[in-house]
Symmetry: C2
Subunit: 475 residues, 2 copies
Amino acid sequence: MVEALSSPRLLSRHGIRLGRAVKSLNSQRDEFGEGESAVNRVRELVKLCSDWIKGGLSGQELIEELEEECGKLGLSEEFARRLLGLMLDEEERLRGGRPAPSGLKLREFASKVQELQRMGEKVMRLELGEPDFSAPPSVVEAACKALREGYSKYGPATGIKELRQAVASKLSERFGLDLKPENVVITAGGTFAVYGSIEAVTKPGDEVVVIEPAWPLYAHQARWLGRRVLTIRTRFEEDWDPVEMLQEKVSKLTKLIILNYPNNPTGKILDRGSLKAILELAEDAGAWVLGDEVYMDFCYKDGFASVLELPAERKIMVNSFSKTWGMTGFRVGYIVSDPEVAMKVARAQNTAMTCIPEFVQRAALAALSDEESARRNIELIGERLKILYEELSRSKLIEVKPPEGAMYIFPRIKVDGFDSWRFAWTLLEKKRVSIAPGACFGEDYNSYLRISAVLDGEPLREACRRIREAIEEYS
Amino acid sequence: MVEALSSPRLLSRHGIRLGRAVKSLNSQRDEFGEGESAVNRVRELVKLCSDWIKGGLSGQELIEELEEECGKLGLSEEFARRLLGLMLDEEERLRGGRPAPSGLKLREFASKVQELQRMGEKVMRLELGEPDFSAPPSVVEAACKALREGYSKYGPATGIKELRQAVASKLSERFGLDLKPENVVITAGGTFAVYGSIEAVTKPGDEVVVIEPAWPLYAHQARWLGRRVLTIRTRFEEDWDPVEMLQEKVSKLTKLIILNYPNNPTGKILDRGSLKAILELAEDAGAWVLGDEVYMDFCYKDGFASVLELPAERKIMVNSFSKTWGMTGFRVGYIVSDPEVAMKVARAQNTAMTCIPEFVQRAALAALSDEESARRNIELIGERLKILYEELSRSKLIEVKPPEGAMYIFPRIKVDGFDSWRFAWTLLEKKRVSIAPGACFGEDYNSYLRISAVLDGEPLREACRRIREAIEEYS
């Protein structure tokens, strides 16, 4: 073994440190006893991992055993969990790796659309989750005022107390709760709200459940952070209901279930009974529930319940100012949870970016009291969703449900071998309409399209006419 | 083993899934052959890890062997590296874990100071790395203009092209380079610039070298992201020079070396020759170098060289608008590297927060052309550093070097058993002056203080008088 380290390759790369290396390895050999060098142990260990990984794992059933064994040997539960996660990852890699996340290509597609626009082409843009209305003047002026008053210094990683208080009061009033500023952390948009929440309540190797069709960033963030993703694939035929599949798939390995209702892209609203069932299931499994409720205000059917309204110990609500007030580029949102989790999210935010601008938070404070703008925006989206439903229903090749909430419609195209990406490019090229391919939201949804309610009535009808035409011409 | 899973505890928690679990374990047993169940393999593996970890690892020498063995067995190098990282972490935990990061307590301390101020107490605040000057009117007005013009939509995760171009041009001119917008990514302050860079060029389990005394967030971010931290402890007696120690400690396991010159807290400027030596060392080891140059403009001695100026393949420069223009609360900075790394940092930013506000970026654009404000701020800090040096030199109990750059002075207190945290609290209580304890910047610096040059002349002299007094009274 010492000989191996003296190989020419190693000598040339690490010649300078060889003396120390040999000394250290020899002293390790002593510790392990004759013939039991550390390197031999590495060999053994790696062989075992390889056999095990290639044999196929069943993580769900093994984690408890693994923790117990680790406990007996004085190793931490975290070590057990991370080791298991590492092996599951490697197994996945050996089986050919993860499917490419086509959802992340949507921004690329959108840039191509912008390019066309810059070249003078008129494109009807319905591909992004960004309202066409901008932040109301009340919000813009509040930001300017705060800037001029010098609110541009470092602030707390939790966000400013005034805004946390205002969020707590508003939600308490709406849902009959008694939330405190300590329950709220202001985040860099809904995006960091989810990212920070994943960091706060899970560890690398933990399992995060994502319900598809889904915003692509849930799975992407979880994997980015070294968590494993378990996908639940809801179906059009079952009215996108996830409850039964969750009951089947949630296990002791599950640490977090991400819900998103009203849903992007389907517009589904989960009723109170189903939400209750999921929260109970999660409690049973010891898992957290994250309710991404950024479309909370966009409900066009009764029955929506927030995770905040139902009893459960482990829950986080995520929200954003982006959609209701057209403040996408302000990057301001929040999480609501118990004070301990809130503090963990704040710590994650502090670690990644110190804090978020106070003048942005003061703009958000102004938004909260501008209920008129919110109401107008919500009505506007509602009217457009109706138009989308009406117009798309006219084609026999399109199957569509009346949207219940959010700002999207998610029709299924009844054309054999339909490919949503191919269609999106053709539609853009031939009809100058851009939509989001269903494949962005999960592998199973390649015969769907997501169309955003971000154009006014007449142009929206025109865009729908072109979509219908393009589907008829598609082959 | 099947019996173990039928224990009452498990039955009650997972009764519903027991049937499936048993079935799955039995089928695994078949795959591994008689008596070779997956669970037995887990037991073996864990036992081996435990022995190995408790025997003490020498990761530096083992990684190559481990990769080779993994390669032979069809396991990836990443698996080898992550497994080693996991074991090194567990070993550290068994030895009593990481020292508590006292640097992160500084913000807590600062909040206490604010509380005192709110209660009407006058405190001379020198504890934070935040200039007392605010963003110049040119910057504030540019932000307001952009807000009113509707620059408040989603933007690219890289930052807007105009600002990337402006940064590239400015640095190209200053250092005689030919940088393109593709080399630049606009980030949420210097904080995310470092966080995103760590994510871009290292993986969990990789070693990141931090040179102490250091901004506490380097080590914290690296550990937060599952990287391991190797600390280099530079010494007052050696003029804070890190080169020799780096030559000793950098190994094949090292994936990133973080440099910060002009330095926070010592104010040291690394000369061109030393920087060159470090870059060569890093190239040899295949490691990246991150030059955090947020104090680049605050140089009061010749000799500073940017990592951008010297040839090396693997380098990232980090900068921020926070210090030069007093824009701490705007949260805007940038990284400069090769286009591939730049894209990775942008991806990290996209994952965590989608993008940063465009109106903030347009304010940064205005800052870049407001050279007068920058010059005034830099001169101001320079004058104050001189005052700090003069005033602190008067005490025989204080050892101090003339500050070369940045906006801090880092005196050593020659009092036996000096405790920087205890002193900081006493100073605040008795003299109403707040400073940052040396312990915030590394374990070895408990007899040091960091004093920020963020007060004007006369008050600054008064604060120094009080610090001298408090040191004389300290026992």
